[in-house]
Amino acid sequence: MKELGELNLPDDLRYAEDHEWVRLAGDKVVVGVSDYAQDRLGDITYVEIPQVGDAFKKGESCGTLESVKAVADLFIPLSGEILAVNDALAESPGLVNEDPYGEGWILEVKPLNAAELDELMDSDAYLLMLERLE
C-alpha cells in the first residue's frame, strides 16, 4: 500500500468523498476512481458498470468494483446521464490499477447540473481529507 505522499493526485481533476475523480471535457465529464481508491482496494478483478443511457442522481451507486480484497460501490459524483462506459474494463479490469486516470477511466457522464462540479474537492482538499481519514 502506498503512503499518502506517494499517491498520484493530478491537479486538473476534481475529487469526490467516495474517491471518484472527475475530469471536465467540454460539456461532458469523465469519471474514474482515484489512485488512493485503486491502491486500497488492491488488484481489481471485475468492474460492473451501468448501461449507456442510464441516469443517476449524485451519490447514487451506479456500479461496483470487485477486488481480491473487497467489493466496493461506485458512486456517481455528479447527477447525470451515462454517455459512454469503458468497455475495455470487461476484459482488463486491471487497467483501473495500472492507469486510474487514463486507460482505467470508467464513465462519461452528461451532467444535469454543472454547479455540482464546484461541490467536489480539488487535489489539495482531497489529500487533506485522506490525511484525516487515515
Binding site: M1, T45, Y46, E66, V68, K69
Partner: protein, 484 residues
C-alpha cells in the same frame, strides 16, 4: 513451551484426475443389461461428458491425498470469526447413523416415521426454550434462508394488517446476507451506522424509523463481537412505529441460556444449527437455519408444520396465512438429529458453552491487544476483532499475517470482515479450545507480529510450509480455470 503444530514433512503430489486417467480403466462393473435397447431422442443425444477413466484405487488415493492436504476442526484450532467452527462431538454422528434415522425415506407414511417426527417436534420445543420465543419451523436449510423466511413473515404480517411497507433497517455491523435477504423479499435495506462504541444507538435507529419501516434486522451480538446493549430500547422504537424486530441468531453461541430473545423485544430469530449446535459445516456442507417466532407470528410460519394430536405426530398444512413451503420435505433432517443430540448431551451446560466461548474470546483479546490494534477495547462476546494498523509501518497487511499463521499450523481467522474495521482480523476461538491451545495460538500470532517487524518479507511470501504456497488470487479471479 509446547511446539507449534505446524512443521515440515513429506507432502505428496497428486495429479488431476484427468492426468491420471487411462482409456478403458473402470472402477465398477455394470450389471448385465436386461432390457432391449431403445433409441434415444436426438434432442437428448450429444457429446458424452468428459469423465476420466479411472480404477477404484485411483479414485480412492486421489481423494484421500486431497484430504491430507486439507485442514479441519478435527485437526486443529479453526478460529474463523462469525462461523463458530467448534468441535463437533462424535456422538452426534453416531446418533445420526442409527439405521432407523439414516435409512428413513422422506416419503415414509407418518405412521411409521413417528420417531423422526417426534425428534423434530422436540427439537422445535428445545429451540423455543433456548430462545424464549414461542414457535419454530425447522425447514430453512441455512441461515440466509431463515432470514428470507423471516422477511417473508414480516411481509405477511403487514399484509394481514392491510398495510404495505417498503423499508428494512440494517445496521452496518449486520451479517452481509441481511441486506440481501431484505432486498430479495422486495424491501429497500436502509443502512444505519453503529456508534463509536461499535453498537447501535437508539437515536440512530429512531432517525430512520418511520411508518414505511417494515422492521429491523439486527445481529446480536453483532459482527464486531459486541452485544447490542440498547436492543430493548431499539425494539421499542421500531415497535412503536408498527415495525417488527428480526434478530440474526448466527452469533447465538455467545448468549445461550443467558438472554431471552422475546424479553429483548425480538419477534423473529433464526438459529444456525450448523454453528451453535455443533453440526459439521463449511465447504458447502448442509446447514440448518430454523426460524423462531412469537405467538402472534406463528400463523405465518412455513408449512407443513409438525403437530401432535392424540399422542401421534403428523404434518399439517392447515395454516392458510402461512408463507408456504421453503424446502423439499422438511429441511435437512440429518443436521437436526445432530443438533438434537448435542442439545440433549449438553443439557443445562449449554449456558456454560456460551460462558466459556465468551471467556476464551476475551482471553485472546487481552493477550493479543499488545501486538494487534484493537479498535473497540471493551469486553467482547464470543469473538474479537483486531486490525492491521500496528503493522502498517512495515507495509504488512492482515492477509500477510494470516498467511504466515498457517505456517505455524493454525487455520486463519476471518479477515477483512466486518467491513466497518479496515483490515479486520476476526477471531472466534469457541468454547472447545483448551487454555493450552489458546496459548499456543496466541504465541503463534505474537511470533508473526514480531516477524512483521523483523522479517516482513517472510510474511509477504507466506505460507512457506504449506503444500500450496502464496496463491495468485488476482489471476485466479481475472482468468478463472473452471475445467478439469
Amino acid at each position: 513451551m509446547r511446539e507449534f503444530p505446524g512443521t515440515t514433512g513429506l507432502v505428496f503430489n497428486e495429479p488431476l484426475l484427468w492426468e491420471k486417467a487411462k482409456k478403458g480403466r473402470c472402477g465398477m462393473s455394470l450389471p448385465r443389461r436386461d432390457v432391449d435397447p431403445a433409441p434415444l431422442d436426438d434432442d437428448l443425444a450429444g457429446d458424452a461428458p468428459d469423465f476420466p477413466d479411472l480404477s477404484e484405487v485411483d479414485v480412492v488415493r486421489h481423494y484421500t491425498r486431497l484430504s491430507q492436504w486439507n485442514f479441519a476442526v478435527d485437526l486443529g484450532m479453526y478460529p474463523l470469526g462469525s462461523c463458530t467452527m467448534k468441535y463437533n462431538p462424535k456422538i452426534n454422528e453416531k446418533l445420526a447413523a442409527i439405521p432407523g434415522f439414516a435409512g428413513a425415506h422422506p416419503l415414509l407414511p407418518v405412521e411409521i416415521a413417528q420417531g423422526a417426527l417426534r425428534l423434530m417436534f422436540e427439537l422445535e420445543r428445545f429451540l423455543t426454550e433456548i430462545t424464549g420465543l414461542d414457535a419454530v419451523s425447522l425447514q430453512p436449510a441455512a441461515g440466509a434462508q431463515g432470514e428470507l423466511a423471516g422477511m417473508l413473515m414480516i411481509h405477511a404480517f403487514h399484509k394481514s394488517k392491510g398495510s404495505h411497507r417498503t423499508k428494512i433497517i440494517v445496521p452496518d455491523t449486520a451479517h452481509g446476507t441481511n441486506p440481501a435477504s431484505a432486498a430479495l423479499c422486495g424491501y429497500v435495506p436502509v443502512k444505519v451506522r453503529s456508534n463509536d462504541q461499535g453498537i447501535l444507538s437508539p437515536e440512530a435507529v429512531a432517525a430512520v424509523t418511520d411508518e414505511e419501516t417494515a422492521g429491523i434486522m439486527i445481529t446480536n451480538p453483532n459482527t464486531l463481537g459486541l452485544f447490542e446493549e440498547n436492543i430493548s430500547q431499539i425494539a421499542r422504537i421500531v415497535h412503536e412505529k408498527g415495525g417488527l424486530v428480526y434478530c440474526d441468531g448466527a452469533n447465538m453461541n455467545a448468549v445461550m441460556g443467558i438472554v431471552d430473545a422475546k424479553k429483548m423485544g425480538v419477534d423473529i430469530q433464526h438459529l444456525n444449527l450448523h454453528k451453535t449446535f455443533s453440526t459439521p459445516h463449511g465447504a458447502g456442507g448442509p446447514g440448518s437455519g430454523p426460524v423462531c417466532v412469537t405467538e402472534q407470528l406463528a400463523r405465518f410460519l412455513p408449512v407443513p408444520r409438525i403437530v401432535q394430536r392424540n399422542g401421534q405426530y403428523a404434518f399439517s398444512e392447515e395454516y392458510p396465512e402461512s408463507i408456504g413451503k421453503l424446502h423439499a420435505f422438511y429441511g435437512n433432517f440429518g443436521v437436526m438429529i445432530k443438533a438434537y443430540s448435542y442439545i440433549l448431551t449438553m443439557g443445562p451446560q449449554l449456558k456454560r458453552v456460551s460462558e466459556l466461548a465468551v471467556l476464551n474470546a476475551n482471553y485472546v483479546k487481552e493477550k493479543l491487544k499488545s501486538v494487534l490494534h484493537l479498535p473497540h477495547d471493551r469486553p467482547c462476546m464470543h469473538e474479537c476483532v483486531f486490525s492491521d494498523r500496528f503493522q502498517k509501518d512495515h507495509k504488512i497487511t492482515t492477509l500477510d499475517m494470516v498467511k504466515r499463521l498457517m505456517d505455524y499450523g493454525f487455520h486463519p481467522p476471518t479477515i477483512y470482515f466486518p467491513l466497518v474495521v479496515e483490515g479486520a482480523i476476526m477471531i472466534e476461538p469457541t468454547e472447545t479450545e483448551s487454555k493450552e491451545d489458546l496459548d499456543l495460538f496466541i504465541d503463534a500470532f505474537k511470533a508473526v507480529a514480531k516477524e512483521a517487524e523483523q522479517a516482513p518479507e517472510l510474511l509477504r511470501q507466506a505460507p512457506g510450509r504449506c503444500k500450496v504456497k502464496r496463491l495468485d488470487e488476482t489471476s485466479a479471479a481475472r482468468h478463472p480455470c473452471l475445467s478439469g
